[in-house]
Amino acid sequence: MIRKESMKIVSTKEIAKETVEMVLKNSYISENAIPGQFLHILLDGHTLRRPISIADVDKENEMVTILFKKLGFGTEKLSESKVGDVLNVLGPSGNGFEISLEGIHTVLLIGGGIGVPPMYYLGKSLAKQNMNVISVLGFQSKEHVFYEERFQQFSKTYVVTNDGSYGDKGFVTNVIPKVGEFDRFYSCGPLPMLKAITNELFEKEGFISLEERMGCGVGACFACVVPTNTEKGYKKICSDGPVFDAREVIL
C-alpha cells in the first residue's frame, strides 16, 4: 500500500555525467518495495511530484537507492538536496515486476539511460532466485555510463553507447542478437527504444516499464494512461503499471 513517508537522505553523489545516486532511509518503503516500483517525490515550490524508480533496496539497513538524471527544474533541485535533508515521498508506488518465474531459466535485462536504475534491483532479485541474468545497458556516451560493475556482479553485462565512446557503438537493439538464448526479457528506457525492442522481440515474453507525465500518481486523475489491447482499452501507468506485459500495451 502506498503511504506518505519521510525519507532522510543518507548519501548523495554524482556517479556519472548529470546522474545522481541518492540513498534514502525509511523502514516502511524498504520493507515493502518490490523491483519496478517508484517513489513519487515532492519538491518545495512544486505542484506535481516527480516519479523516480527504486533502483535498489537494503532491507536490513532500511535503505532505498534512487538514481536520477538532472533533466529539469525538479531533478536539478533534488540533486542540490544534502545529506540529512528529508524528502516528502509517496511510495512504494505502482505495480512492479512481481511475476512468476515458472519455467524461466535465463532472463535478459535491457536498460536505456535513465531506464537502467529499475533493472538493477530487478536483476539482483532475479539472480538471488537463481535466474541466469544477461544485461544490456545503453547510454549516450562514455561519461554517462554507470553501474556496469554492479551489473557484472550478477549478470553477463554488455554496454553500448550511441557514439561508440565506450563498449559497443549504436543502440541496445544492435547488441541483442549476440547475447544468446533467453526465455524472457525485461526493459525500461526511452519510448523509441521500447518500441524497437517490443517490435524486434515480439515472439518473446517480455515486461516493460513505461514513463509518462503524471498527475496524482495514485490512479485517480487519468493523466498517465496508455492504450492497451485488453478489454478496457487502456491502463493507468502510475497504478496499473509502470510495468506492463510488452504485448498488452500499444506504444
Partner: protein, 305 residues
Amino acid sequence: MSRLQVNLPGLNLKNPIMPASGCFGFGREYSQFYDLSKLGAVMMKAATGSERFGNPTPRVAETASGMLNAIGLQNPGVEKIIENEVPFLAQYDMSVIANVAGSTVEEYEYVARTFNHTNNVHALELNISCPNVKEGGIQFGTDPSMAAKVTEIVKKASNLPVYVKLSPNVTDIVTMAKAVESAGADGLSMINTLTGMQIHLPTKRPLIANKTGGLSGAAIKPIAIRMIYEVKQHVQIPIIGMGGISNAEDVLEFLLAGASAVAVGTANFSNPLICSEIIDELSITLERYGFGSVEHAIGKAVMNE
C-alpha cells in the same frame, strides 16, 4: 449544530470540505490514505453518456504554482459509474455529488436522468465548463443562453438539486451566473480551470498533446476569489467555491468571498491527505479570525462592503 456544518440544497454537510471533480477519481485511491467519512462530500469524476477514452498523452504539465490538464473527460460512462463506483462511495458517511458532462444537450439530459436510478447520489454538478472537450462543452459554458438551456433541461430530467459549474473563461461571469440561476439552478460551483498552454522548448511545440489545457492550482486562486465575490453580490443561490485551495486559510478566504462550501482539486496531487488536514485545521482557523462557525463567515467580505 457543529460549527463546521453547512446545509445546502440536497447536501447536509458535516463540514464544507470536498475533493473537486476529476482530482479524486471515485475515491478509491484516496481511501487508502484516510477514512473518507471525514469529508463533507465528494465530487465524482465527470460522467458522460457512454465510456470516453479521453485525449492523447501528455495530458498534464506543471506550471508556476499550478498545472495544466487536458484529460478529456475519460470515464467509464454513467451506467458503469452507478454500478461500480457509487456503491463504493455509499459506504462512507458523506454526501456524493455527481459531475454531469456531455457534448450535446441530449447527452447531458441522458446522464442527469440516469442518475435518478440511484439513491446514493445527493446532488448533480453540471459541468458546462470543461475546456478540454472539443465537441461543444465549451460553448455551453461561455454562452449564457446555451448555459440556461442546458440547465433547464437537466433540471427537468433530474430529481436532484443541480449545481452549475461555471467556466472562468468568460468576460462576464455575473451574466453567466444570473442566466443559470434564472434557469432554475439550485446552486453554483466555481471555478473550473482557465484555458492555457505551455510550449515544450526541446520540441518547440505545445507540451500537452491537446495543445491547450486547463490551468488549476494556487495560480488561479485570486481569480476564483474575485469571481465568487462578484457573483455573490448578484445571485441568491449558494456557491461551492474552488480554485487553488491548499489550506484552511484559503478556505476561509473563499467563505468570506461568498462560497458556502469549497472543493479542493489540484492540492490532492501534492498531498493526498490535504482534505483531511484542512478539516482538522478549519475550526482553529475560524476561531483565529473571530468566527464561531462556517455559517458566520459566508459572504462576510461582500457584506462588509
